[in-house]
Amino acid sequence: MSTTDETPRAPRASSLGPLGFPEPGPPRFESVSDVRTRLAEAGYLADDGIAGVVYLADRLAKPVLVEGPAGTGKTELAKSVARVTDSRLIRLQCYEGLDESKALYEWNYKKQLLRIQAQRVVADGDGTAAAGSDAGTGDGGETRSGVAWRDLEEDIFSEEFLLARPLLEAIRSTESVVLLVDEVDRLELETEALLLEVLSEYQVSIPELGTVRAERIPLVFLTSNNTRELSEALKRRCLYLHLDYPSLERERDIVLTRVPGIGAELADQVARIVRSLRTLELKKYPSVSETLDWARTLVVLGVESIDAEQAKATLHVLLKYRSDLERAAKELTVADAQA
């Protein structure tokens, strides 16, 4: 199997025709390291896994399912990718009870009603004039109203009356798009099926209008906090990326890039303390975003090197449960307990 000598784009182009697969558009990234450096420029530090999956998603034209604990940068990843690829970010926030009229499309019934009303006014004006002749030639009138009806139907079920919701909008867009489907796990199992057609074929079928194919395949990110197991059908269509809490080094770098004015020593300490906290058994572990908040707090307070007292006084930025706070304060100050 040759890998390096041929350009990876070549096989894609040939698979378009017979299946009617939409044009994926030019690749957004050159290589895995290209993903990394460009994301880093946008302030998102990706590790090998993240960069690799984003690269593959672009090349294979597959959606990415990003799973992991809250606050590890799942949504941020999608946003950053949109930023570095100059794409429009279209976001669909999922929640229980989301239905197709909010995710896919909806007919603008108010406008349709107006259209019908308008038609009636016009028809009434016609009708009085043509009433006499209508009574005489019965079938002539029928033909005319039949035609009018079909016109009307075609008219009110045309694109003009269609309200595109996020998924359809992402499909129809001609520019490069990053579609973010946030917190898929909040959808009910049944509603998940809404996404399937979009995710695998990049098309939306509208019964009255036909099938809308993607102009250009969007880069799709689905995020999930893993509060429930997603269906096999959905998982099968996606690349899977598990975003866990970052390693010590990566967290330190994240703190350094995202918190202006922080010293290297403080960043290192912050990352270390957070790592220690994550080894405790807590109700809720401090997330990356909370780490950043904490680092910012410390910078604002003018702290240059944390001691136990300062750490204890500001821990509430990191931990949100009283029992967690108590335990953390105890563990951090009485380290000798287990020695």
Partner: protein
């Protein structure tokens, strides 16, 4: 390459991962796009396409390390001594003791005494020198593991032997000691102490992993990919038996419970959707009225909000199901956060309500501890007596069961030959909406010895075998 990939996929399937045909095709395509010489990239490409659940990651990683192990002569089991060409090639045939001794004699290929090796290890850990740590791991495995070609074992035994000789706890103490000395005033504040310890611990973990990898590489070289993969296969988290789970496994199970209880909540709360109407849905009514020219002939209604059901959990926490019971308590706690009204009871031969413990303590471990110490569950001798526990339950709380209540019983129904009092279950069944029994024993053991689950089963809606997460999930999805 394709052959390796096919073999790899079938190994994943054998380990229990659900890998579909489309996914393996995706993997094959993904491999095109990564440079093959980059092992990490290959790993992530395969992981992204083949593994769709974070709990399966470990199984994937093991299989990956085995299938795409670094190969080469330096990983032969006799590698470090094998370099000396004067070694007899039949050395492998020596009995273990002699082999070990022979190795220790000749094994100092680079002339290090065990003390020097320990010193090197200490320094490498102190400075977090990764290259050196890898080298030491290689040395240590060669020297201490005493690996014998052709032995059909996984690496655990070798790992244990290597680690025992390295005495990592002692090393940790030394590291801490020298960290203390390096501190400006000779002591560390508790916070610094804690941070230093965590830092060293993570370096030690890295070393441990390095040693594991080294052992595995040698095993692959010795026994071939497939044989090793088979002996390294471990049950996936969802297949771990509750009754025989280790501490670590239990911890991983606990994390998996939360999504499950959500599902359980949804299932139990689900009402018949058709036939029941909620308030008028104006938007939908108008939309549908288009077919009648804007006259709302057919009013549409919203679905009613699902009602939250009440649940009573009655769990056996006696010794015979101790591991399961601990798991159960976590499950109960997770359930109670999902439902408006959960009441939980535990029993051995007496029964006590423990709802209050979960309400007052916001930490599970704390609650479990209090239940074990404070709950009044022993009546006579602390051996399970389902009959007595159930009749007391009926006396004290039976009145409170309503047609909206679902009752979950958890236990192995090993009754120590006491009276079963199964009429209680019958009475409960009359009052409650559902009665389910979850039994952590294999079905084959039911109704053998002092197990009387059959007598209770006639009055339950259904009895489920519930030995692992998969079965628990099955139970949840069976609920209508």
């Amino acid at each position: 390459m394709l052959d390796v990939l096919t073999g790899f996929v079938s190994e994943l399937r054998a380990a229990g991962l659900p890998v579909s045909l489309t996914e393996s095709l995706d993997a094959a395509e993904a491999v095109h796009h990564v440079p093959l010489e980059d092992r990490e990239a290959l790993k992530y490409a395969l992981a992204a396409t083949l593994v769709k659940s974070s709990t399966h990651w470990k199984a994937f990683e093991t299989a990956f390390e085995v299938y795409f192990a670094m190969r080469g002569p330096q990983y032969d089991i006799d590698a470090d001594e094998g370099a000396d060409s004067d070694r007899p090639s039949d050395e492998a045939d020596l009995p273990p003791g002699e082999g070990q001794r022979g190795r220790q004699g000749g094994g100092g290929g680079d002339g290090l005494t065990p003390e020097e090796l320990a010193e090197m290890l200490f320094r490498a850990l102190m400075n977090a020198n990764e290259a050196q740590m890898a080298a030491i791991a290689r040395q240590a495995v060669g020297r201490y593991a005493g690996m014998e070609p052709g032995r059909p074992v996984g690496g655990t035994y070798y790992l244990y032997r290597t680690l025992r000789n390295l005495d990592l706890d002692g090393v940790l103490d030394r590291l801490m000691e020298s960290a203390r000395q390096e501190a400006p005033d000779g002591t560390l504040t508790p916070l610094e102490e804690r941070l230093a310890r965590d830092e060293f611990q993570s370096r030690l973990d890295a070393l441990r992993k390095e040693i594991e990898d080294e052992i595995r590489r040698r095993l692959v070289a010795d026994r071939g990919t497939e044989a090793l993969a088979r002996s390294l296969r471990k049950p996936l988290p969802e297949d771990i038996d509750f009754m025989h789970a280790t501490r670590e496994e239990l911890a991983s199970l606990r994390r998996a419970i939360t999504p499950l209880t959500r599902k359980l909540a949804v299932r139990l709360a689900r009402k018949r959707r058709h036939g029941r109407k909620g308030p008028l849905d104006f938007r939908s009514t108008m939309r549908h009225s288009l077919s009648t020219g804007g006259v709302p002939v057919d009013p549409k209604f919203r679905y009613p909000r699902p009602a939250k059901p009440e649940i009573m959990v009655i769990a056996d926490i006696s010794g015979s199901v101790a591991a399961f019971a601990r798991f159960t308590l976590h499950l109960v706690h997770a359930i109670s956060s999902q439902f408006s009204k959960v009441r939980s009871f535990v029993f051995i031969d007496g029964i006590d309500e423990i709802t209050r413990f979960f309400e007052t303590a916001d930490d599970v471990a704390d609650a479990v501890h209090r239940i074990n110490t404070e709950a009044d569950v022993v009546w006579v001798d602390g051996h399970s007596d389902y009959g007595h526990a159930l009749s007391v339950f009926w006396e004290r709380w039976g009145e409170e069961i309503t047609p909206r209540t679902s009752v979950l019983l958890l236990g192995d129904a090993r009754n120590n030959y006491h009276a079963t009092q199964s009429w209680v279950i019958q009475e409960i069944r009359h009052r409650a909406r559902h009665v389910y029994w979850l039994n952590p024993e294999p079905r084959a053991y039911w109704d053998t010895g002092d197990s009387v689950v059959g007598e209770y089963a006639v009055y339950c809606d259904e009895v489920f075998e519930c030995r692992n997460l998969r079965q628990l999930e099955h139970f949840v999805s069976e609920l209508e």
